[in-house]
Symmetry: C2
Subunit: 261 residues, 2 copies
Amino acid sequence: MKVISSGHQDFNAGDLVWGITGWEEYTVIDNPETLFKINHPELPLSYYTGILGMPGLTAYGGFFEVAKPKKGEYVFISSAFGAVGQIVGQLAKITGCYVVGSAGSDEKVNLLKTKFGFDDAFNYKKELDLEATLKRCFPDGIDIYFENVGGAMLDAVLPNMRVAGRIAACGMISQYNLEQPEGVYNTICIVTKRLRMQGFLVFDFYDKYYQIEEQIARYLKEGKVAYTEDVVEGLDAAPAALVKLFTSSSIGKQLVAVARE
Amino acid sequence: MKVISSGHQDFNAGDLVWGITGWEEYTVIDNPETLFKINHPELPLSYYTGILGMPGLTAYGGFFEVAKPKKGEYVFISSAFGAVGQIVGQLAKITGCYVVGSAGSDEKVNLLKTKFGFDDAFNYKKELDLEATLKRCFPDGIDIYFENVGGAMLDAVLPNMRVAGRIAACGMISQYNLEQPEGVYNTICIVTKRLRMQGFLVFDFYDKYYQIEEQIARYLKEGKVAYTEDVVEGLDAAPAALVKLFTSSSIGKQLVAVARE
């Protein structure tokens, strides 16, 4: 977004900024603490809705601040091809972890392993027994589960966690549209394996945004992280694009382009 | 226990010690890092199986190191009359928290409120809707849940947690003897309320034992904490005493006295 007029000392007309706003061509911001300047306009501006914006900050903060990874640890990411998941996986590889992701199509599984550098990936829709699948992928167990899915996936992960493992609970997309949420039966593993499961939201990391923006911009320029977007044009295309989030059919960060310069 | 003979420099014949051993009159210890000296023999030695031993260390470590309480916070303890629960509740009161406990009999509920200083308590067996009961006890929500029960109790707690609340997962006694564990349906609250749920075991705190022993011994001598035991005599009484743990019928820390001086 570009600032047209500002009464705030930190923002001037012409500044490029990002923030969480409505789907509209013009917007009025009255909580400037949720607005950030764009310091790398040489990168695609749309990246500030993704890897350099909210999903990037969520991924970076959730992985480093919540999951607190160590080199050599085993990391599992559900909804790994999602905007957050694909960034987490690449950060985990940069950290020296072994990384496996789940996704909802063979195309995504293939891209995770080729373009995004995951050590392994599987299509959860084709697995009959997720607990056994995870056991096969992680014969020594999981140190970090980056949770985007919830429900049956969480239940399959818990018995596969290692002692002192961490579950960074970013989202539970499988549960959002259910009349009655699914039961999770293996919560006792949290006690027996001394797990830490912790929820977070992106604004937990707002105070570290500019540092994280610098770090991710550097990775992008050095080619250390890849990024994909799935852009549709115009507000008319928005409802169908929203539904794609819940049918696993977006390939990359789902964007709706409302206005272009 | 008294040391009869020792080949370890830290322990001498005649020393009073405690540790996790078998139910026997004599024992051989080959992992001395799990054995602790008794520094307050002026207090009842049986306390070293309870408030000055494993349950005391579990309560102190779980509450201060895992739940990280702040003055004025709202604390809920399930199985609050258990050996660990009654200590946690008193530590929470000393910290300046508002404390409610659940227990399995009216006698225990009454003792929690009178002898142990809980602000409120309820008999979970008489409540038809635990989620509503907790809402009544905590109209502003729960900051810290000290989890001893699991299953349906955990499910009732989750929607009552406050944002950034903590669940110190000490045990899930309701689940230990089930063929199929109960489902927990409200795990999404961990994301939406940014909760931290963390399991732990007593040996996480072994390195702090002597400091904690000093602190609890001081509280006992100052009359700041109360303590109860339910002692049965002889190994023959042990099986029935064990079963009492699962029927909510022990009044205080369940002990089996095998040998007395």
